[in-house]
Amino acid sequence: MDGLYLGVALFLLLNILLGMVRVLRGPSPADRMLAAQLFGTTGVAILLLLAEALAAPALRDVALVFALLGGLTVVAFVRRAWSPPTQVNKE
């Protein structure tokens, strides 16, 4: 079973590297942040799989913190950083 967990985790890591293309190429900043959000979720899945494969239960807590704080960057991006093309930023 450990081999299956590690294999699926490796596959998900390859998915992250594939999604990096969208960060590099994405035309608008929103595309880049969407890719970063997907990386966060994939990282949670990888951490859960590694917690089972390496028999390290502390990694589930790391995954929990990731899940809690994954939305923080997106919220900061939308509320404070991104002013879409035609919108006048009123601050």
């Binding site: 608008s28 997907l38 859960l48």
Partner: protein, 100 residues
Amino acid sequence: MGIIEWVTTIFLLAGAFFFFAGTLGLLRFPDVYNRLHALTKADNVGLGLITIGLMLQVDNWVLALKLLLIWFLVLLTSATAAHLIANAALRGGLPLWRRP
């Protein structure tokens, strides 16, 4: 390998497939809104299937509850993020993609 192991294997492979589909959609779709669609599928269904597959393997119901809590938090986060980005893009006048 018992029946539980087979079910776990199937769930994990299905979750990995959903993550792959989400990444592929992020790469192939033409528009922020379409990419949001692909992304939320990967977040909700992919992580959900992997979580269910792992929940079948733990022997303590507190650990299963913790996995469920992680999935619930990711659901909440991803729904909030998708709504915020779609709302900001629509209000800011980012054009919708039309089939050319």
